[in-house]
Point group: C3
Chain length 360, copies 3
């Protein structure tokens, strides 16, 4: 029907195009509780208003991933409703904490296009920016997805291209492998100089983590059908494969990748309790699908660490810890990311590279 | 035991009787988040405090159906705990938006009675009114249910009537087929004259909908056991068949009809994104039971449309769109309501006739 | 790995030791909604801000069990992560209502130790105290758990004790069988003298309950996998057996005992609607495990009743009703707690002894 939104196909995107995504969304204390019922999160800062105040924050932020999932969800109807695959993220920065009462809106600009040689799909690169009700940037990130061409939908052989749409000029944006530590943004007022390690749950500060160190987060959580759907709905993410068993040949709902990110981040508390805030996401790959019944574990690898210069950032005692967060189906105490063939080991669900803020 | 509430039976009702229902209930931001985790709702007005302010509302309302489910739930222990079937609704009007902090209470008056010829049950008609903490009417509606007689409970043959209760005089109230558009109530201050169609997600305004037009809302959602139970509990609805597998011979929990209404309304966003508020429910029939595992789709038919006279209603740019909202088990792209025999088509779960407010 | 928390073993506890538990937690309106979606609670006071104000409370408390579960959950990583069994509670008092915005922290003192004769485990007694952001005591309680010795973990034969740890001196604290009614704390301002029995849902006041009276709460709720996990996570309770099917040989997640307490308390509304507040927990035993698919019912027995002296407690019209709350798997209309052998009847899941506040 003409009034419903079929989503965009590869042919619908042009480099430079700006899309204002629908459905501004106000974050509330209800989201904090819902998040806490879905993920076993125990980071003291988003858990406790008193703790947040004790580290200099005027208001009580929700977890950064709440903001990220909401901001990301807005882009789905326009960018990835007809996606074959979500290929990657880059240059995601959290510009300021999201607090209850904030209303988030998202805008995307198409920054790259590359039609696949099969002529049936192509890669779309977008840079998305979430702003709050004051028009301030809250989160921005780049993302690239493989999107069907309109003519190629369906599973049959390639149909003729009725409009004879030519492939667009290939434009591949330059994206940083990782956000440079000097570009990380420390929330206004954040001061870890009188940080309460007992309340936070662990004694480890920045200097206690060695680059190359791996941490097995030990705990596992078994996925259920309704939990991942509740999460995905909460972020107003409309991708059909998460909600509708009739939308997939195997009759199983695919768990939203962001659900695995949040679950792994929550599990990482055990060993990384002081990595209180997420400052940036450098890269992320959803390497394998997850389903209800799978039991998810996580391990982390320390990739980098640095003390943030308080002169520039106005932060006191704040360090940045760059981590690889790996979610696995079934526990892998060997913490093996890739097999000998260089491919991801079979149980790996998520490989996320991100920056956290931690007492220096 | 004498201290527990067995619910009322048909013999317990008299025309003119007023029942003050128990359990006043305060609505919170937690309810908004819970609703958003249970239904894929994306209407901009209840989603965004900023959007609500931009259309002239002083506070940020929750979805009208949150208020309706709560107000309705209060009547269950007194009116329909021993119901055989929920037969219909009529004349439901939303008098003012419900905002977090509002406390809802419900009162019902018995407006009709008709004993069935089998002598084992009868139809009870009630008019229910929900008020807030200031005593203002928030929602009112009429409803009729078939209720067991006390003597006829159980599945065996008709037992003798020990009290020899005579059938009451039959009183059938006159109820309007639909709320007249001129009786619709527009929330104070609502002003669609500078409505942001981009933020709302679709460009269609009142004039873009033709009477008789049908809209297939495309998306489907598979029901899970815990989600409908969580919803039903949230509204403090106590009907046993929704929670207790031992209360039904087939060992399956029946999905609360209101869950299907909310789900279908949320799905209708895709094609009706600007039908921001529910102003009235004219009629509703739950035509078939739904269970966990069913995948629910929805389609709508435009029944009527009218521009509301701003002189009378103090509304600017507000139109009213009357819709039939049909939920189906499995997608029916043919959008067939009834078979050749005039009966509802097999997959139809819900046939709801309601008024929405939309930019004129 | 050295950075993760393996929990304490029996050898790690000494009498007099004080443990400051991690993760302060702010209670919000989101918790009230989440609780309402998980339990069929209808007590008017926590349901309605207007009702709470009408009985003299300045703010709108959440259910006492929300505070209890949160405060209790904080102790799990330090006290009972390696527990064989949760043996009992005693002397739990609710010192003041918890309201949204309160941040709870918990501290425990070890008050007793007794190594088991098998040398593989021992009983640890702790007294735990939850305080709010102003340092005021909110809840305190004693609890004893059987905890593995480090050397005995695993299911194989007893391994040698490498450190040759001797059994500690046995110290068994004296704990009251029940909190004395004169030590119950009535919330500041609570005044039941103009209590609205209609809004509360039942007419029964203190004097209507006879010691020895039993009440069958009639209704049953079937447990689902995701609901008990959502609850347990909400309280940041980290016990693995509730979340991870791989953590148990039978591949089934054990339902958190506190979930059964909250469910039974909610079911007890039907017959005890005016027992609005929980003032103390005298004792509690989780007598049998519960799993998804079980249908839970509840019955109560009146153990004691007393009018609280308003001179001492500043309470008007407040009575205290001491109840035994029994949760069962499957309905037991005979309300049999124990078999002829003195052991708990097979279907009994929970035997809880607690004090409530009710209009006198």
């Amino acid at each position: 029907m003409s009034k419903t939104n079929p989503g965009n196909f590869f042919e619908d995107f042009q480099v430079g195009q700006v899309i204002e995504h629908a459905t501004p969304r106000t974050v509330t204390e209800g989201d904090r509780a819902a998040y806490g019922s879905l993920y076993p999160t125990r980071f003291a800062l988003p858990s406790s208003a008193a703790f947040a105040a004790s580290v200099g924050l005027e208001q009580h932020p929700v977890e950064e991933l709440i903001g990220f999932h909401i901001a990301f969800g807005k882009t789905v109807p326009d960018v990835s409703l007809n996606a074959v695959a979500n290929l990657g993220y880059a240059e995601c920065r959290f510009h300021q904490p999201v607090v209850p009462g904030d209303t988030l809106s998202t805008r995307s600009e198409v920054i790259g296009l590359k039609q696949n040689s099969n002529g049936r799909s192509g890669v779309v690169y977008v840079r998305s920016t979430a702003t709050n009700q004051r028009g301030e940037v809250v989160i921005d990130w780049a993302r690239w997805v493989m999107v069907h061409k309109r003519v190629s939908t369906g599973s049959g052989p390639l149909r003729s291209d009725p409009e004879g749409t030519a492939a667009p000029e290939t434009v591949i944006p330059e994206l940083a492998k990782a956000v440079d530590a000097k570009n990380l943004i420390v929330p206004k007022g954040l001061d870890f100089s009188s940080y309460d390690f007992t309340a936070a749950g662990e004694p480890h500060r920045l200097a206690d983590y060695e680059v190359g160190e791996k941490i097995d987060h030990v705990d596992g959580v078994t996925l259920t059908a309704s939990e991942h759907q509740q999460a995905t709905r909460l972020w107003q993410n409309t991708a059909k494969v998460h909600f509708n068993v009739e939308a997939r040949p195997d009759g199983r709902n695919l768990v939203y990748g962001g659900h695995i990110i949040s679950l792994a981040r929550a599990l990482s508390f055990n060993g990384l309790a002081n990595a209180q805030l997420v400052a940036a996401i450098n890269a992320g790959a959803h390497t394998s699908p997850a389903f209800a019944g799978d039991t998810v574990y996580a391990w982390s690898e320390v990739l980098d660490r640095t003390v943030l210069d308080s002169g520039e950032t106005d932060a006191a005692g704040v360090g940045a810890l760059r981590l690889r967060l790996v979610a696995t189906k079934g526990r892998d105490e060997s913490m093996t990311l890739r097999g000998e063939d260089g491919k991801y080991a079979p149980g790996v669900l998520l490989d996320l590279d991100y920056w956290t803020l931690i007492p220096a």
